[in-house]
């Protein structure tokens, strides 16, 4: 029988909530595919992102949930909070299960076995999945350009297993696999993988972008751009985790802004048509990294030189974005101009023994 043309929907881009001096969020779609009644922690950053993503995507969506907090914490007790189809898959199968769903719908619609518009296929993979064990499968899905959106909700650690280091955990980030101690005063010596850039550089035909829960409308628009892009799209989204970062729960959105304002999480988009980066996003202010670090217990052990190292790293990110560095931030990269975190002395003094 003759092949049927696959119909795909196009989602409108939302207006900017900052209209001159007035702050007013644009009208949002009414449907809530992500419903309350799940066991994520109060203030959970990935949950905030998940809800925004599914709202941006709408009811014609299929969600894929590799093992992680957005699997375990969201389900538990044999029930889930998704009013759209959702499937669990293995932590390493993020890209591949998603590819299977997308491919199945291509074939079924084309062959007349499914009558309807091509669904939005979204994979929600934690950074443990996206950056480590599932890296190959995601790269494969992007390379093969399946019509899907793969999201790495980046809480910079393996959270669900009780907070362990992943290749996205920042330098100096304490986790149970990277605790501070006299031998390792900075706790984590390795800098994180530049995951999103790897995806953009390696698969230039895909729409790739970074986002943060600190900028909700921007996040939802990037989700929609990714879904509208015919082919594979990838988003790496900063989603703070209260349990691992150790901060006051009301601050989840605030941290999402601060991490961008201090340069540690540059916000950019890769344009697959023009084959270039769009670095035009500018946060409202530029802050030294210490303002971000001091709000989180996971950095409480840092010494001045470690903070200076992080400032240096942030300065490099600003440079990549084409932002002129103010004097204050250049100075802040010198350990002489930093002070130890409050808990640094205690962290050093305690010899950790099991």
């Amino acid at each position: 029988m003759p092949a049927i043309e696959v119909q795909r929907q196009t989602l409108p881009i939302l207006g900017n909530p900052n209209q001159g001096a007035r702050f007013y969020n644009p009208d949002l779609p009414a449907s809530e595919p992500f419903v309350p009644g799940h066991r994520t922690c109060a203030g959970c950053g990935p949950s905030i992102q998940y809800r925004m993503t599914s709202k941006a995507s709408g009811d014609n969506t299929i969600l894929v949930g590799p093992t992680g907090c957005m699997y375990v914490a969201n389900s538990s007790y044999l029930c889930t909070p998704y009013n759209v189809p959702w499937a669990h898959t293995q932590i390493g199968s993020a890209g591949s299960f998603t590819a299977g769903v997308a491919a199945a719908y291509e074939a079924m619609i084309r062959k007349g076995k499914y009558k309807g518009t091509f669904p939005n296929v979204i994979c929600e993979a934690g950074d443990g999945s996206a950056s480590d064990i599932g890296l190959a499968s995601i790269s494969g899905a992007l390379y093969r350009n399946h019509d899907c959106l793969i999201i790495c909700y980046d809480n910079e650690q393996y959270a669900n297993t009780g907070i362990q280091a992943s290749s996205r955990t920042p330098y100096g980030g304490m986790t149970t696999f990277s605790p501070p101690g006299p031998k390792v005063p900075e706790a984590k010596t390795l800098y994180p993988k530049d995951l999103a850039r790897m995806m953009a550089a390696g698969h230039p035909h895909c729409y790739v972008a970074t986002a943060s829960v600190g900028y909700p409308i921007d996040l939802m628009n990037k989700v929609r751009k990714g879904l509208n892009h015919k082919g594979a799209a990838y988003l790496m989204i900063y989603t703070p985790c209260q349990k691992g970062f150790v901060y006051e729960t009301p601050r989840s959105i605030d941290l999402g802004r601060l991490v961008v304002e201090c340069g540690l999480y540059p916000m950019w988009e890769w344009n697959p048509e023009k084959r270039e980066y769009d670095y035009s996003f500018r946060p409202q202010s530029m802050r030294p990294v210490s303002e971000y670090l001091k709000l989180q217990g996971r950095f409480g052990h840092l010494h001045a030189e470690h903070i200076a190292n992080l400032q240096k790293f942030a300065n490099q990110q600003w440079g990549m974005m084409g932002v002129q560095l103010p004097e204050a931030l250049i100075k802040a990269a010198d350990p002489k101009n930093q002070v130890n975190m409050a808990a640094a002395a205690e962290a050093e003094a305690v010899a950790q023994t099991l």
Partner: protein
């Protein structure tokens, strides 16, 4: 894109087991194919690639990034309601191991073509059954074909069985690497109308469909574990009558009748029988013919379906004989028989029988070597000695390495 099968009528072609499997996938009008190269099964995927490129088959042909991804893609596609075909060999089968339990437990009828291959170390392209057998507890329907025709037929029956609403289980349709996969024999390809009558479209009761949203596989607490496990066990046992029913159906439509569980060859008056799976049965039939000419009452029982294991049939059938020689073309290191895995399966089936044969295990055809006629004769000798002395020399013999 139009498939060309409609214009082709029933015909006989000379193809190997790999291509036979590919043809079966084409006749089954699969929707998604996931491929990853590893010898010797790769030829199946090569044949399918050409079919898709020619427009003979309309399917999404996906070159996955690993076997783990292959099976994950298959899982995702099957969960969405697509008929899926995949396959692997050797260590590739094991690379995908993580997915076997999830696929069978989520009741997705994925079909996997396995042209078996010895496991590393080191690399050895030759056939052993260990690769697929090592996954036998994972809940897939599993069995070996002994030739290309049976492979083609088993693939078609596999979809029909696996997708049956009373079953909904994945299938590993296995064949010996090289001996079946790469030796060409005559295969009758059916009329597409016959396939249409035999194999209805795949329809999972709860696919991932935005119009009827469901969640597949939410996390549970241990309290919810037991009923789910019991349901899986019921599914495995409950599919047995369906398997038999469908073999009947196949015989009616295609004119080739297979016993669902066992092929018996010259067992009516046999006293000693060989018990094995797969392609070495072809040589064994010749060996038996020769031995019979010499007056030996020898026969063969070939196991066609190892999962679900036909415990009662094995018990009923084998208890009639005096000695059963289990030919193991697999490694079960540290097993009950210190040899392969089949011995224990046979011995346990016979345990409750008041009349039990002696059971001896033969490590033969290891590493992909052919089992030559001489070796069958040697094995028969050993069995006769056991019959004579009333006891076995030892549980496992390494054929070719002993006096």
């Amino acid at each position: 894109m139009a498939t060309a099968t409609e214009t082709i009528k029933k015909r006989t072609v000379r193809i190997n087991g790999c291509v036979a499997a590919a043809q079966a996938a084409k006749y089954a009008d699969v929707d998604v194919i996931t491929a990853y190269p590893i010898r010797p099964y790769t030829a199946t995927m090569m044949a399918l690639a050409q079919m898709v490129a020619n427009g003979e088959l309309d399917a999404e042909y996906i070159v996955a990034d690993s076997e783990h991804s292959q099976l994950s893609i298959a899982h995702g596609a099957s969960s969405s309601g697509a008929r899926v075909f995949t396959g692997s060999s050797g260590v590739g089968v094991q690379f995908a191991y993580e997915l076997y339990s999830p696929i069978s437990g989520s009741r997705m009828p994925v079909q996997m073509m396995i042209a078996d291959r010895t496991l590393d170390p080191p690399g050895d392209f030759g056939s052993e059954h260990t690769d697929a057998l090592s996954t036998r507890d994972m809940g897939w329907i599993m069995g070996w074909s002994c030739d290309a025709q049976e492979a083609f037929d088993n693939h078609l029956m596999g979809y029909r069985i696996g997708e049956d609403p009373r079953v909904l289980l994945p299938q590993m349709v296995c064949q010996d690497g090289f001996f079946v996969s790469h030796i060409t024999t005559d295969v009758e390809l059916p009329d597409p109308g016959q396939v249409k009558e035999f194999l209805p479209p795949y329809k999972h009761p709860y696919p991932l469909d935005p119009r009827r949203p469901v969640s597949h596989g939410p996390q549970i607490m241990p309290e919810q574990g037991p009923p789910l496990q019991l349901e899986r066990a019921r599914a495995m046992e409950g599919c047995m009558p369906v398997i038999e029913e469908i073999h009947e159906e196949f015989a009616r439509i295609f004119g080739r009748r297979y016993d669902a569980w066992l092929e018996e060859y010259k067992t009516d008056d046999a006293e000693i029988v060989f018990f094995l799976q797969g392609g070495h049965a072809v040589t064994l039939r010749f060996a038996i013919n020769h031995m019979r000419e010499k007056g030996l009452k020898v026969g063969m029982v070939r196991l066609r379906t190892i999962r679900p294991y036909p415990t009662e049939r094995v018990r009923e059938t084998l208890s009639k004989f005096k000695v059963v020689g289990v030919i193991e073309t697999n490694m079960g290191l540290g097993s009950v028989s210190s040899g392969g895995s089949l011995y224990a399966e046979v011995a346990a089936a016979l345990y409750e029988s008041p009349k039990r044969p002696q059971i001896v295990s033969f490590m033969a055809g290891m590493g992909g070597e052919a089992i030559v006629l001489k070796e069958f004769y040697w094995m028969a000798e050993k069995m006769m000695e056991a019959q004579k002395h009333g006891k076995i020399e030892k549980r496992t013999h390494w054929v070719g390495f002993e006096e």
